[in-house]
């Protein structure tokens, strides 16, 4: 029975408009709650290797395999032999860059250890020639980003009474992933600005642009 005339139909306009206002308001409130959860509550943030007292977004990223002059195995060093990250990357706690260990450091052990391995022989050859290997940067931030390892280590490792220096691995893995399971390092976190920002918000890090951009 198609009797078409809008006179018959009457829509509750006032109520509808009120509804719209509520929708707007509810969206806002919902956003508040969601916001609280995302930024300030740790549950729905999956932590990597636990760093006590911190939450950070555990975003995965599959980097490309970057070839290196010497096929250095983090697994053997950091993983199996549990050498502290900062034993080789010794500058991390003193400088903005973590630094590549100087050749002398490698030779410190490898004059005696595993000298028969081909890679080590490569290394030794270089040392004798007095030239350093030309490593390729894996975790390479844009040049307008000034990240400092020093401060982050202080915040998460040295000022963290639940950790001691031997747990450096955990802190490093926040941004570098589980390097101890890799041979040559491979990017396993996005390291985008969003990644940084979320972590800074979750751990009340500074939100001032000039901390990183100058």
């Amino acid at each position: 029975m198609v009797k078409d005339s809008s006179t018959k139909r009457s829509i509750p306009w006032i109520r509808l408009s009120m509804l719209m206002v509520f929708v707007g308001a509810i969206i806002v409130i919902a956003a508040q709650v969601l916001d609280q959860k995302l930024h300030y509550v740790g549950e729905d943030v999956v932590p990597g290797p636990i760093v006590p007292g911190t939450q950070y977004p555990d975003e995965k990223f599959t980097g490309i395999d970057v070839p290196q002059p010497i096929n250095f195995s983090h697994k053997i060093h950091a993983g199996d032999n549990e050498i502290n990250c900062m034993f080789c990357h010794t500058y991390a706690r003193r400088s903005k860059v973590s630094g590549i260990p100087p050749l002398s450091k490698c030779m410190g052990c490898h004059t005696v250890i595993a000298t028969d391995k081909p890679e080590i022989q490569k290394l030794t050859a270089m040392w004798e020639k007095g030239e350093s290997p030309k490593w390729n940067k894996v975790h390479d931030l844009p040049d307008f980003v000034h990240f400092t390892h020093q401060r982050h280590l202080k915040r998460f490792l040295f000022d963290n009474e639940e950790l001691d220096v031997s747990d450096a691995k955990r802190v490093c893995s926040m941004c570098h992933g589980d390097i101890a399971e890799m041979t040559v390092a491979k990017k396993s976190r996005p390291l985008t600005m969003g990644f940084c920002i979320r972590c800074h918000e979750a751990n009340e890090g500074p939100s001032d642009c000039t901390k990183c951009h100058k």
């Binding site: 806002v28 508040q32 609280q36 995302l38 020093q150 001032d208 642009c209 000039t210 100058k214």
Partner: protein, 289 residues
């Protein structure tokens, strides 16, 4: 969604606080400067030091002539003395009796900066250090900020200076300061009070769990100034020399008109009356009449 609506319900009043608190946040520092125009000899060392410290491009004669120069710190020179001898400059036959007047002008780091609100992408904003920051990688080059700067102290990368025929042919590239981004074409830039030095000092202080000491931060211009006409420090630190100098001159931040019981004091801020509230205090030049 979260970052769409966020937490406006929390501390709404915080967010709507006005100028009297200087924005919503607590200032960690308020970096300020004092420049004694009587000591300044206009020798330009500061300007060159600034070029060296901050990777500023040299543009060459033609572009300089077209007023596309890039200096962050310019030492202006005037030949008239309105306060002592107004008529002198108009007398064709007279001599330049009392020399010239020199004025080093770097970004005044205004606390009510006119450049900040107009930036469409918030590339320039006020830091908790009381600095007027410029985030190069956010800048889209609308140049509104420079138009709105009464001091004309913002410079724009009208060209790209990074290629081989630019400002740094090899091996000059090697001199570039890694702590500072090299600006690409289409980006606004300006004096930052050597923010990289401030950052370094603050990080150092944090590593040692202490506050930044007075004189721990020296800007490039201040450090090189042969007559030490430039003083730099934290205006929130009551011990700092700068704070004392400001108090001695009875000049206060947040005012566009200073009420001083002694009008003969030498301290003044350029274009203070525009209520830009600059952080650079100049001490009047002194000359025998």
């Amino acid at each position: 969604m979260s970052s769409l609506f966020g937490n406006i319900l929390k501390g709404w009043t915080d967010y709507t606080k006005g100028i009297e608190e200087g924005g919503h946040h607590k200032y960690e520092h308020m970096w300020g400067m004092v420049i004694d125009l009587d000591k300044c000899t206009g020798c330009n060392a500061c300007s060159v030091a600034c070029y060296a410290e901050n990777n500023i491009a040299t543009v060459g004669e033609e572009k300089y002539k077209a007023r596309q120069s890039m200096q962050w710190l310019r030492v202006e020179r005037y030949f008239d003395e309105p306060d002592i001898d107004p008529g002198a400059i108009d007398d064709e036959n007279a001599m330049q009796e009392r020399g010239a007047s020199f004025l080093p002008m770097m970004c005044q780091q205004c606390n009510a900066a006119t450049c900040e609100p107009v930036c469409p992408v918030a590339a320039t904003y006020h830091t908790p250090d009381g600095l007027n920051a410029q985030i190069y990688n956010r800048c889209i080059g609308s140049r509104y900020c420079a138009n709105n700067c009464p001091y004309r102290l913002r410079v724009f990368n009208f060209y790209s200076y990074t290629d081989e025929d630019g400002a740094w042919p090899e091996p000059m590239k090697q001199q570039l300061n890694p702590d500072i981004t090299v600006r690409e074409k289409g980006v606004m830039e300006k004096c930052t009070f050597c923010i990289q030095r401030i950052r370094a000092a603050k990080d150092k202080a944090k590593m040692e769990n202490r506050k930044v000491k007075d004189d721990e931060v020296k800007t490039a211009c201040q450090q090189t100034c042969p007559t030490q006409a430039i003083m730099f420090g934290d205006l929130l630190n009551s011990e700092s020399k700068v704070t004392q100098a400001w108090e001695r001159q009875q000049v206060k931040l947040g005012k566009y008109k200073q009420d001083r019981e002694n009008p003969k004091l030498r301290g003044y801020r350029v274009f203070e009356e525009l209520n830009t509230d600059p952080s650079v205090l100049y001490l009047e030049r002194v000359r025998e009449e």
